[in-house]
Symmetry: C2
Subunit: 226 residues, 2 copies
DNA sequence: CCGTCAAGGATTTTCGAAACTATTGCCTTC
DNA sequence: GAAGGCAATAGTTTCGAAAATCCTTGACGG
């Protein structure tokens, strides 16, 4: 049987993705109470898949649970944002350092490829509808994943994934608020170049700065909105 | 529904604890396939609580899931052990450093208290039945938690908790194999003393060494048994 | 003899209703 | 008018069985 890439998704997986997307897109607001009846409608499933999705989301910090009192979307706060950011800086820096140390040419090639795809979208991004933005998000995530992909630590990768997901949620809450027009493109390019020439010090510094700028931008909005 | 104090535990919580304990105690072996029928019997509940428990356990790395093919206890390996260990060293060292930096007298007091309770059990431990060992495990965990309790980072604490749980699983698989009779008591005392006198460098070094020795011991067994 | 395919059994996944808990609003009592 | 208890309601949690999926077995054809 040739079953490569033929992954069977359960309804629970589907529900998980949909609820997660609804939170990222703002359809479900931070702090909002989540009723099973609504989520069943949103995900077009029954109570069991919704419950499994919420259990997973809670374990990852996207929702909160109070026994017998139901779930709610995890609230946002400046404090939480910076807590996530600092740890992300710590862990992804370490992961990048390890990647630079262990990565082979194959890794380099993958990384350059991911970066190329990202730059291709950067050009068009500004005036495209949100549907294309979705695509940019994917490629952006892929690039950051590719940076640390060679770190050789499953555990570390898992933590980094979780943190970037939570950080991305914050970032997407502040879409459209570009007070400080950054040159994100060159930030990405500089990180890439330092990484390729195996300059771990510079690369990790740039990465941390990259994260910090985003966080400052999001924090700005957060203080106005909440 | 089981009510303890004013905290209401759901059957799913109960199932989670029971399955987790069964894995730690060796009742459920690494790699073993988990059938819902067995777990329903073990936890004395129905399919829904078992499913929720497994979802949580999977998110925490204790079990694994293959869509439509069921769950199994996460296998153990030397590689996984060291992956967990290295990250635990990284994260708990950082957390301890932050704790030493931010902790007040109240934290110190709590820490000393937790250590005292631990030493009280150390004396008797050797010749006590496994029931009392359970108590020692609790106090041991409490001491390590108290060390980093003042680190001011919810995210970091969460990661540390997860890693120590996974590390403890490994350690408990090798109970009874004390080839290298360590003086764990003095290791704990030295860590405590360095921490109290706010000597972060020494404290983190000792902590890392403490973890590493345990890992070496476990690894020894692992290579013989699996 | 080897590989492919289908049927049957075993197991997971999903559903809808029942059981249970928390909250709300009303009524009584002080 | 306020406080406390009681009933009704809204919501979560749990159950047991139906549906869907995977795995095994054995027959068939090349």
């Amino acid at each position: 049987m040739i079953a490569i890439g033929d992954v069977t998704r359960t309804l629970a997986d589907e529900a998980y993705s949909r609820i997660r997307d609804a939170m990222h897109s703002g359809r479900l607001q931070p702090g909002q109470k989540l009723r099973f009846s609504e989520l069943q409608e949103l995900t077009d499933t029954s109570v069991t898949p919704v419950r499994e999705a919420l259990t997973r989301l809670t374990a990852e910090g996207f929702t909160e649970l109070e026994g017998h009192r139901g779930y709610r979307v995890a609230p946002v706060s400046s404090q939480d944002l910076w807590d996530i950011l600092r740890n992300r800086q710590r862990l992804e820096s370490e992961a990048l350092r390890l990647s630079i140390q262990h990565g082979d040419e194959n890794w380099e090639a993958q990384l350059i490829s991911a970066h190329h795809l990202l730059t291709r979208m950067d050009r068009e991004r500004a005036d495209l509808p949100t549907a294309a933005d979705e695509q940019w998000e994917k490629r952006h995530a892929a690039f950051h994943e590719a940076l640390i992909a060679a770190c050789q630590s499953k555990v570390l990768l898992g933590f980094c994934n979780q943190l970037s997901a939570r950080a991305n949620r914050y970032r997407r809450l502040s879409v459209g608020v570009d007070d400080v027009p950054r040159d994100v493109r060159s930030e990405h390019r500089n990180i890439l170049e330092a990484t390729i020439r195996r300059d771990a010090e510079t690369a990790t510094d740039l990465l941390q700065e990259h994260f910090e700028r985003t966080a400052r931008m999001v924090d700005e909005l957060l203080r106005h909105k909440w």
